[in-house]
């Protein structure tokens, strides 16, 4: 899905392709009709990250279809800015705010995958540690304590930061899912860890391979 200001959209397409699925570029201005089976909301600065990250993009016509699809169980992965859009659209709880050190940060980040029951993480081992790029200015995950407890209690924390917390996220949260598990938001960028040539590892490819396997399994 490309919003004006999306940046990692090409990378998401590449990741889907390398995982063996057929990527289809979607445009924010169209209520999308094509029969895609899963959607990635990519990273970037939709609408310049003006106002709040994702705050303007979530009103795009295509988001109506996404919300609709998500509620019907379609797998949706929001990466970085995509995660912010999903929170703004209330498909995921909480919000993402400016990094506590107030600087943009780009670094290779270690994560622990804590929930392998989502279609996006099913091929990871529970507790698997991975290394993928993190790059954001507003990546601090916040929510009230009740929500945080609920997320943890229901096992909906998909990934947690290891080592120094890079952005002040509450409880080191790097990614979460909705109750049903089909909608996942993740601050770091698995689509940038899919080739040895360009990424710190190929650990990220499993997100895309997982969803393909889940979908094939369903079919």
């Amino acid at each position: 899905m490309t919003f004006p200001g999306s940046l990692d959209d090409r990378d998401a397409l590449r990741a889907v392709r390398l995982a063996g699925a057929e990527p289809v570029p979607l445009w924010h201005g169209e209520k999308w009709l094509s029969d895609v089976q899963a959607v990635v909301l990519p990273g970037g600065f939709s609408y310049g990250d003006y106002l709040r990250c994702g705050a303007i993009a979530r009103f795009s016509p295509a988001m109506e279809s996404i919300i609709d699809g998500a509620n019907k169980g379609m797998p949706v992965l929001g990466i970085c800015n995509g995660f912010q859009v999903l929170c703004e659209a209330h498909l995921l709880p909480g919000a993402l705010i400016r990094n506590d050190h107030r600087k943009f940060v780009c670094r290779d980040q270690r994560l622990r995958i804590e929930n392998v029951d989502t279609p996006w993480t099913s091929l990871y081992r529970p507790g698997e540690e991975i290394l993928i790029p993190l790059k954001n200015g507003e990546g601090g995950y916040v929510a009230d304590h009740r929500t945080l407890d609920e997320l943890e209690g229901e096992g909906r924390v998909v990934a947690r930061y290891l080592g120094d917390n890079p952005n002040g996220s509450y409880r080191d949260i790097a990614g979460i899912s909705n109750k049903a598990g089909n909608v996942v938001g993740l601050m770091p960028h698995p689509e940038h860890a899919i080739e040895d040539l360009t990424g710190p590892s190929t650990d990220g490819l499993t997100f895309f391979a997982s969803v393909l396997t889940s979908l094939v399994g369903q079919a």
């Binding site: 106002l51 909480g94 919000a95 705010i97 009230d144």
Partner: protein, 76 residues
């Protein structure tokens, strides 16, 4: 035509790193007597008289503020 001001602030229970950084900087500058700083957003809208309070509240609630983490006030 009137100017409407909307101020948006983080809910008190949410950490405000920017306000915190300013507070620390005040300490370094040697300014004493400030015990807390919260940073929010301030919007000035030029609005037609035909726009009613309900519409403004809707705009603030859905677009200008994220009610999950923020509160807002409207001054007309």
């Amino acid at each position: 035509m009137a100017r409407v001001v909307v101020d948006v602030v983080m809910k008190p229970e949410i950490l405000d790193p920017q306000g915190q950084a300013i507070l620390n900087a005040l300490g370094r500058l040697g300014v004493a007597g400030v015990s807390s700083v919260r940073q929010g957003k301030h919007f000035e809208l030029e609005v037609d008289d035909s726009v009613d309070d309900g519409t403004l509240a809707h705009v603030a609630d859905t677009l200008l503020a994220n009610p999950v983490i923020e509160d807002f006030t409207i001054r007309r």
